[in-house]
Amino acid sequence: MAAQFGKNLNFILHPSAVVSYEIDQMVCTMQHKEIEMSNQIESIFARLPGLFVARSDLRTRSEKARATLLLEAGEDRVRLRIADGAVTVLPANGPMDGWDIALRADSGAWYDHWQAIPAPDAFDIFGMVRRGRMRIEGDFTPLMRHLQLIKDILALPRAAA
C-alpha cells in the first residue's frame, strides 16, 4: 500500500505510485472523517435524554407513550426507549436487546437531519425514506401512535445546533 512509504519518499516513486498514494491519503482522510462523524452521531444520540429533559412540552406529551427505537448510523446502533415520561439511551448489541422499530441511515443522513434548516431530502424521517436516505423497519404501531412525539425527539439536536 503506497501510503505506507511516507510522504518524503514521494520523489523517488513512479508517478502512478504517487497518484496511488494520494488517493490512499484521500480515502484515509475520508475514513477518518467518517469515523469522526460516526463518533459525533453516537455522542449526539447519547445527548437525546438530556435535550428531552429540557423540553417540558415533550415530557408532558410523552407521559403515556411507550416505544423502543433502534437508531442506526452506519455500523453504530443504540436503542432509544420512550417510556413513563422519560427517554433513555440503551445499548443495542446484546442478544436480547429488543426494539419495536428501527430507523437506519448513514451518519451523513443523520448529520443532515440535524442541520438548523435541513435540506429537503433530510428534513423528515419519511421524506428521508422516500429519498432513499433512511430505512424504517419493524412494528409500525408504536411509531404511528406517537409519530409527532418521536419526530420531535429525534429532531432535538437540530434545535440545539
Partner: protein, 294 residues
Amino acid sequence: MTAQFDPITGRYLRLSLNGRSHRLYVEEAGQGVPLLCLHTAGADGRQYRDLMLDEAVTSRFRVIAFDMPWHGKSSPPEGWQSEEYRLSTQGYVGMILDVCAALDLDRPVVLGCSIGGRIVLQLAADHPDRFRGLIGAQGAAWQDAWYDTDWLHRPDVHGGEVCAALISGLIAPGGPEADRYETLWHYMQGGPGVFKGDLWFYRVDGDLRDTITRIDTTRCPLWLMAGEYDFSCRPEDMQATADAIPGCNAVRMERLGHFPMSENYGQFARSLIPILDQIEGSAPAAQGAVAERN
C-alpha cells in the same frame, strides 16, 4: 364599533350534490375575477385565509373557498353514519361544477392544492372552456404512495394526531411558526376517516396519466406549482406532468412544502401573484367588470 373583523364573509350554501342535499360552508373576499380555491385532502377552506386577506389579490379577484362535504364546517350528508366516505374523480368534478353553477361564477380561475392540484388536470381535460385559468399547486397526474393510508383511520391510533404527524414533514422549515402549526391543527380537526377517504381519489381513483393527454392549454391556460420540501408531490413529479402537457407552465417554489398557501403565504404569493397577473391581463371582460364596479 371596536370589534375587528377580517374582510371575509362566510355563509352556508344549500345545494344538491349527486342527488343529496348538502349545506356547504363557503367563504369569500374581494371583488373581480372569480378565483375558486380548493383545499387539500383532510383539511378545509381555512387554508386560504391569508390569500383572502391579501389586498393585492382581493382588489382584483373575488376569492372563494368552500369546505367540501365532510370537511370543516360542511357536515356530511344525511345518512353518513352508515357509509364509508370516499372521494371519487367524478364526484369531485361534479362538486366543483355544481358549486360554480350555484354561485353563478363566470369562467372562474380555479386554484387547487394537492388533491385540488390534481383535479384541475381533470377540469383542464374535460371542461377547459368553463374556466379562465387553472392552477394546480402540488399538482401532478400521479405520484407513488409513501405510506399506507390504513394508518389514518384505525381504532388503536389517534386519527387526528397521526394525520397531522404524517403531513408535518411536508411543511417546509423556516416559515412562520404560527402558520405551520395552524396547518397541522386543521389536520388534527378532521373527521374520522375523512383524510383517508380523500386519498381514495389521490391514490386509487385519480390516476390521471392518461387523462392529461387530452389537455389543450390553448383553450385554458394551466399552471402547475410545487414546493421543494414536498416529498409527496415532489417537484420532479409536478415537472413530469407539466412536461407531458404542451403549453403547461411549471413553477418550482423554494422554501415551501405541500401547503404553500397556509404554511407560508408570503412566500407562496411571490409565485402565485405573477400567475394571477397573467390571468387578469388576458381577461379584458373581467377587467371591465371590475372597472364598472369601481
